[in-house]
Amino acid sequence: MRIICLIVIFWITPFNASSTEPPIRFGLTAVVLTEKTRFLDQWSKYLEQKMGRKVEFALRKSYRDVMDLLESGGIDFAWICGYPYVQPRKPETLQLLTVPIYRGEPRYHSYIIVHHNSGYRHFSDLKGKIFAFSDPDSNSGFLYPLTLMGERGEKSATFFRQTFFTFNHAETVQAVSDQVADGGAVDSYIWESLAVSRPDITEKTRIIDRSPSFGFPPIVFRLGTNDHTVQLMKDTLENMDNDTEGEKLLAQLKLDGFGHYPDSLFNGIRAMANKLQRTGPKYSLLPAD
């Protein structure tokens, strides 16, 4: 009887998940994905099923945390922003895996938002005001507004009276709607998603500036990750729109799918980052801690 039981256990276990191999660790930030624990469970289960490997999501507060985790080998894959992606690293530690497709394109915008009751019409109206950034490693939530200031020959420290980071695009919208900040920079993808799920918040905000389109925050992998795993992950993600289960998950993410795009997709962001690099120190705004 005992033998039969053991056989059953050994027979079932490898079929269910490859417990012998270490789990694939996938880094995410709350910057984009707010506390969607249930969704992440479903997604990791989907990926496990498709890849035959255990997939663990590592949720961190900031892009910086995820980048640190990626560079230290703590994770194999990460969904990061275009801004940290285009940062030159020597040696390079990561590579583009796949790009989410949003409303038919692998692109999105940065929105400069203000409270709907305010009289601000242009970004320059926010001079001397309080501004909410999303994440210091966010393109839409930090790099773009810095670029706007740069275009006007201003620096964040002098342009705004007060700034702060929310480390979450959704909370930037909240900060503006609560009038904690006079203006904020957010990811168009997040703002539009919120407009559906929490219209009470977005209704209190007004978009006064829409950036040119940028490459959507990509999914990258750590150089040195097993090629097979990388390919498996890329195939799995890019084929999510081909099955019902995957479509359901994509619908929850409000994405059309994942696709293969060249690195040049992020040239716009790269150009802004390079320009900023020349005009001033990158993290001048960040606290010393």
Binding site: R161, F164, D178, V180, P287
Partner: protein
């Protein structure tokens, strides 16, 4: 208005009102103390709650302030304010803020009006005072707006320290509105209970006081009956208890019984007095009539024996005539004195004045001065009985006076009374016979019947008047009569 003067209210009402007032006052005092204690307890609890909330924010605030993470500071305030501590959600965060040592806003629950980075500006002097207290605080304190008001608040003030360096302050202000509602509700309940208590207490008080006062009411009614002279239909006060009121009732019943007995004895005594008086009159009549009768019978006997003796006839006939007239006078006066009727006959003042002539005739050749003073209204009508009174008094004076005597007659009105004074300068009345002056058959004159003054006394009494006499031996006497004026105008 007796209803407006509490002194005239029945004892039962006064007692029950007193009990009600005492019950109300005690109940109200207890209620006020309970409500105040409740309020103070709730108040202290709310103060502690405000401090706890401020402390919950203060735990993470210094770190966020060092990082200039204003968003976290704001979120900590917002989360604290939206916290629902179980079902005991009896607080409402009115406002909350985090200030740096200079008083600049690091986070405020109402960011639209209190932008971060600017100095917090209090709206008025009171707020300025609170701000100063908060900025000076180096240990957690609870500030109170004080007073029992719906708009009041309690503020938890917790200073922030990072490595013993002062970083600023967290202020969390809770509204007492819900507390106020709670206190008001409990006050309402307490008040309702007091009202119920008062109602029951008053009802019981009324019943008890009525029960207590009932015997007193019976005693009072009995005494009122005594005052009216009704003692016959007195029914004893029932005795329920042996307390003071019970003892009073017993004593009252005894007094009433004794009074009734005394009255009966008095009535009996009055009756026997009447009989005595009647006996005296009867004896007087018998004696006065019998005396002349013996002489008369002797005269008649003698005349019968000597029918032809002219001398005897001439001598005895006047004696018989005198004796019979004396008997006639006695009977007449007795009839007048005993048969005094309530007659409404009136005579004019003129009739009284006419009596002067009668007296002058009575005086005859004797030398007696008569001084007549009548100042009363000439149109006045007086009772007919007055004529007899004046006549008797004047006749008495004439009879008693020696030659060269003087009679003064005065008649005058004094208010509702007509006064008559008859004075003489005769021998006066000895003090030892003054009391018998108006008794029937009492006389000092050799031929008097002793009924003249008795008749005067009876007439004055029947008219509701008074009679008195002043006299000094060998100086004279004055009789005063005062009778009510019956009619003032001549018909």
């Amino acid at each position: 208005m007796p209803i407006l003067s509490p002194r005239s209210w029945p004892l039962a009402i006064k007692l029950s009102l007193t009990i009600t007032a005492v019950v109300t006052a005690v109940g109200f005092m207890i209620g006020v103390v309970m409500v105040l204690q409740d309020w103070s307890r709730f108040h202290d609890e709310l103060g502690e709650k405000a401090l706890l909330l401020a402390e919950s924010v203060a735990i993470t605030a210094p770190k966020a302030m060092r990082r200039k993470d204003h968003w976290s500071l704001y979120l900590s305030l917002k989360n604290m304010a939206s916290r629902r501590p179980g079902t005991k959600g009896t607080h409402e965060v009115v406002t909350a803020m985090i200030l740096d040592p200079e008083g600049k806003i690091q986070a405020h629950l109402n960011p639209a009006e209190n932008p971060m980075g600017l100095l917090f500006s209090p709206g008025n002097d009171i707020e300025q005072n609170f701000l100063e207290q908060a900025m000076e605080a180096r240990t957690p304190i609870a500030l109170s707006s004080g007073g029992f008001s719906k708009a009041g608040f309690l503020e938890g003030v917790v200073p922030l320290f990072s490595d013993q360096k002062y970083m600023g302050v967290v202020r969390v202000r809770l509204s007492v509105a819900q507390l106020y509602e709670k206190a008001r509700n409990s006050a309402f309940i307490v008040l309702s209970l007091i009202l119920l208590f008062v109602f029951i207490g008053s009802a019981l008080g009324t019943i008890v006081s009525r029960r207590m006062v009932k015997p007193l009411t019976a005693v009072t009614q009995g005494l009122e009956a005594v005052g009216r002279g009704e003692m016959t239909d007195f029914s004893p006060v029932p005795i329920r208890d042996r307390d003071e009121i019970g003892r009073l009732s017993v004593t009252f019943n005894q007094i009433m019984a004794e009074l009734a007995e005394k009255k009966m004895l008095e009535e009996e005594a009055a009756m026997s007095e009447k009989l005595v008086a009647l006996g005296r009159i009867t004896a007087g009549v018998a004696h006065e009539v019998n005396n002349p009768l013996a002489g008369l019978l002797n005269c008649i006997d003698t005349l019968r024996k000597h029918p032809d003796d002219k001398k005897l006839i001439d001598r005895y006939l006047p004696v018989i005539d005198n004796g019979l007239h004396r008997i006639k006078d006695i009977v007449h006066n007795l009839l007048v004195g005993l048969k005094i009727e309530e007659s409404d006959d009136t005579v004019s003042i003129e009739h009284i004045d006419n009596l002067r002539e009668l007296i002058v005739a009575e005086v005859g050749d004797r030398h007696i001065d008569i001084i007549w003073n009548n100042t009363s209204d000439k149109d006045l009508n007086v009772p007919g009985k007055l004529e007899q009174i004046v006549c008797n008094l004047l006749k008495n004076a004439v009879e008693i006076l020696p030659d060269n005597g003087k009679i003064i007659f005065s008649m005058y009105q004094d208010g509702p009374y007509l006064n008559i004074d008859v004075s003489d300068n005769g021998p006066g009345i000895s003090p030892n016979i003054k009391n018998q002056l108006f008794d029937p058959f009492f006389t000092t004159k050799p031929n008097g019947t002793g009924l003249g003054l008795w008749v005067v006394y009876r007439l004055v009494q029947s008219m509701g008047g008074v009679i008195g006499v002043e006299s000094e031996e060998n100086q004279g006497s004055t009789f005063h009569v005062a009778v009510p004026v019956v009619t003032t105008k001549a018909a």
